[in-house]
Symmetry: C2
Subunit: 303 residues, 2 copies
């Protein structure tokens, strides 16, 4: 049995998976803010799942955690996780001190990509596009996450696609993230609605032109991200997940429409057959928690 934890900006999801990768226990917690609270959330998640399984924390084959930010899997250090109030947290050491277990800590998008690859078993290179507060991608080849030379692969949210676009928080202009992410939508469509992107889609559906334009830029931005993944690394499929993917079919339809529109103007682009190569993460599947559990059993040397 392996244990996986996905520490998100507001909630934390934890699972126990058996040798076949199937989920046998599942738990949800609110995520704390700041170093001490995030470490507490992580230990609560581990001990909580252990209790459900009636196994002590050190009785699992391995334990893995997925968390936003820049993560060094070797040292277990987490940096630049702004939404969690975490920078330079030695999460692995803290958990080891408290529970006496080794944990494998990795970036949440990387482990989500791994979890979905295991779930869908595509058998060919797969891209995962995470539409959360930001926009980032993961590429999985032969069941292994592609990390790149410096662990920085998949940061496509900071690829500019429009010299006349908005200034991005990264300092560049017209990055994909400025139009195709939760923070990009929030900036363009400020609202108190607890589901701001749903509110945007609803407004667009009732004829609000500004909402329709923002929604259309979102679809074009995601479609651009898909095009980048396919023309650069030629993944067979791009799976879309993250908070914005809860919009479901209306979002997928928008993205496919943008891709089909481009295909209508370009034989080359049409030959890529992109509308059929995009899909949504299965709703309700805790991809990052499952991926963290699978990731935890890996040999560091293999990466």
């Amino acid at each position: 049995m392996r244990l996986g934890v996905d520490i998100g900006g507001t909630k934390t999801e934890a699972v126990a998976v058996d040798d076949s990768g199937a989920i046998v226990e599942r738990l949800r917690l609110r995520t704390g803010f700041g170093h001490a609270a995030v470490a507490q959330t992580a230990t609560d998640a581990i001990t909580g799942v252990a209790r459900l399984c009636e196994i002590p924390p050190d009785g699992f084959e391995s334990i893995g955690i997925g968390i936003p930010g820049v993560v060094d899997p070797r040292s277990g250090q987490v940096s630049h996780a702004v939404n969690l109030g975490v920078d330079g947290l030695l999460l692995g050491d803290l958990i080891h001190e408290r529970l006496g277990v080794e944990v494998r800590i990795d970036n949440d998008v990387t482990v989500a990509a791994l979890g979905i690859y295991q779930h869908l078993a595509p058998g060919s290179p797969m891209g995962y596009l995470n539409l959360g507060t930001g926009l980032a991608a993961g590429v999985v080849v032969d069941g292994r996450p592609w990390r790149g030379a410096r662990g920085g692969s998949g940061e496509i949210g900071h690829l500019p696609v429009d010299p006349g676009g908005e200034l991005c928080r990264c300092g560049q202009r017209g990055c994909l993230e400025t139009v195709a992410s939760g923070s990009g939508i929030a900036r363009q469509w400020p609202t108190d609605d607890p589901h701001p992107v749903r509110a945007l889609f609803a407004a667009a559906d009732t004829g609000d032109e500004r909402a329709a334009a923002i929604r259309s830029r979102l679809a074009a931005g995601v479609a651009s991200a898909v095009r980048i993944l396919v023309l650069t690394v030629d993944v067979e499929t791009v799976v879309i997940g993250g908070g914005l993917s809860h919009l479901g079919e209306p979002l997928l339809a928008d993205i496919r429409q943008a891709l089909a529109h481009w295909a209508a103007g370009s034989t080359f682009f049409a030959s890529l057959d992109l509308p059929s190569r995009v899909e949504l993460v299965p709703q309700g599947f805790p991809a990052a928690a499952v991926g963290a559990a699978l990731n935890s059993g890996r040999d560091f040397a293999l990466l």
Copy 2:
């Protein structure tokens, strides 16, 4: 001994390499146009190198060819090689009929990337950016070319980076290829000069503002391609080759300046340290011919 042939738009380069990958013989020919002439060029190159080595064509351990266009390495069929007047040529079969040897045929950018990887031995993922008539990239990992799910990886010349840019021959607008390729320069700066891009650089150096603007867009386009390769797959280095790379240091300086300019406005971008991760192909090194020779000894099943 392995034999490698690089069939280019105007000239064909062929080499024999020994087991260490060192070049032992080298030959240049003019490339013919159309199916019959291209097949003749290929057989002439093979028999010519064989004669230099005093080995019959079937005495080589393996023979490989790199050629522009869409290539199916399994069938040896070459398509869409517009500059060669070739579409649907079963080059492998033709050479086998004439010389009784099996040849491994592959895309020229793919084998060039492989040849440079072998030459530079970077030890980490490497990107190769080919600035020829078009713009395309190759990624090499652990000494193997990254092909992708459908063999279409590296087609980054057709990634749009400017919605207000020129219409590309692919039907999309603002593709990298419209500004950062030989054909892009030729469209913007028509000239009878046999070295059109050298003429452009010279005009820019003497104060021609239109030439300076085209040259600046070229540098920004190449810098964008480098950014795409690093933020998507995180290659450690990007090596720039192809016809435009013969411009040498002035081109490299322009590209590094564009990257440094972006870094000045973005801490995130600066952290990628891109100016130091870009280099030019060693001048005079027949990368694609050497790569074709190395590629020829490979097991198809490994790709």
